[in-house]
């Protein structure tokens, strides 16, 4: 059985970068797939990889990560400015970040139009 854990953006908005990463990683370490509303800052994504490497042991093999985000190129004029201003002050809550523990998620295939998540159970069949 696969458990999906939805994290609304407001749950991490007030946390520090370290706090956000710790929270998301602790959920993934419980073998749950994290669905985060929005995305981490680009620097935080690199820090998430670093923190993941620090946590790897015989039980936790790492994560699979994917971000789905409406392309900035699709937004025009006022909509684009509005999105950028909101992101600056409130964080980036557009799109979706998927963080799957490597013990559950075998791979995430992504292209601009779709995302495919292959779990280990499905891969065995």
């Amino acid at each position: 059985m696969v458990t999906l854990h939805f994290v609304p953006h407001h749950e991490i908005a007030s946390l520090t970068s370290v706090g956000r990463i710790r929270k998301l990683l602790s959920i993934a370490k419980e073998n749950k797939i994290v669905l985060l509303e929005g995305r981490l800052a680009k620097e935080e994504e690199a820090e998430l990889i670093k923190a993941t490497m620090e946590e790897i042991n015989k039980d936790f093999k790492g994560i699979e990560l994917a971000v789905i985000k409406p392309s900035a190129g699709q937004l025009r004029g006022f909509e684009r400015i509005k999105t950028e201003v909101v992101s600056f002050f409130l964080g980036d809550n557009a799109g979706l970040t998927i963080i799957g523990p490597a013990s559950v998620v075998k791979s995430i295939r992504r292209d601009p139009h779709k995302i495919e998540l292959l779990t280990r159970e499905a891969a065995k069949k």
Binding site: K50, V67, R110
Partner: protein
């Protein structure tokens, strides 16, 4: 104007760090051919190789530095830099994968442990590079989140990026797919193993560091 400001910022950054050499880092996922490219650059301009390559992932588990690499392009541009070859960046490392590749358990566990440290070290080095060459295996899916994360992180830091689609000698390679994934960046297709298109690579490298 923007390029000039960026170049000025990078020069000031180097000055503040107390060094004048440009630092170029090779980044990318494991087995993309970073060390093969580093070896090719070093063989072309210094006459010696930089590191060992292997079909098993995470062969490079420590950052390697080759100082004062001086290249001269066909159009007469000269570039002196310190070359950094980094371990492949991954989000998962499982010693059992190394065992499947033929390593005994003890060696596989050791390799996995060293590989995790290598990824951390590679990410830390992002603070010290002036230009990054992201090496992508052109036979693989370019949309992999590791590529997106590395390139996004570099963009956030305003570090100039050159993307290399490596292994174009293989039939499955698709440079078109790499270019489509990162339309805002310069992309050059090469085969580091066979030295294909290296002149274009050196020209693009000189251009991106201007």
């Amino acid at each position: 104007m923007m390029n000039f400001l960026l170049s000025l910022k990078n020069s000031l950054k180097r000055l503040l760090r107390g060094r004048s050499s440009l630092v170029i880092g090779l980044y990318g996922p494991p087995n993309a051919g970073k060390t093969t490219l580093a070896n090719k650059i070093c063989k072309d301009w210094i006459g010696e190789e930089m590191g060992t390559v292997s079909p098993i992932a995470h062969e490079t588990r420590e950052v390697k530095v080759k100082e004062k690499v001086c290249i001269k392009t066909e159009t007469g541009k000269e570039l002196m830099f310190n070359l950094i070859d980094t371990p492949g960046i991954a989000t998962r490392i499982d010693y059992e994968d190394f065992m499947k590749a033929g390593l005994p358990e003890a060696k596989a566990k050791k390799r996995a442990k060293e590989a995790t440290k290598g990824v951390i070290e590679a990410i830390k080095w992002l603070d010290d590079v002036d230009t990054v060459v992201v090496v992508i295996d052109a036979t693989q899916d370019p949309y992999s989140q590791v590529n997106v994360t590395i390139i996004g992180n570099l963009a956030a830091r305003n570090i100039p990026v050159l993307i290399i689609g490596n292994k174009v000698d293989l039939k499955r390679a698709s440079l078109k797919r790499v270019k489509a994934a990162f339309p805002q960046y310069a992309v050059v297709g090469i085969s580091a193993k066979y030295g294909t298109n290296m002149n274009d690579f050196y020209e693009a490298l000189a251009k991106v560091t201007e």
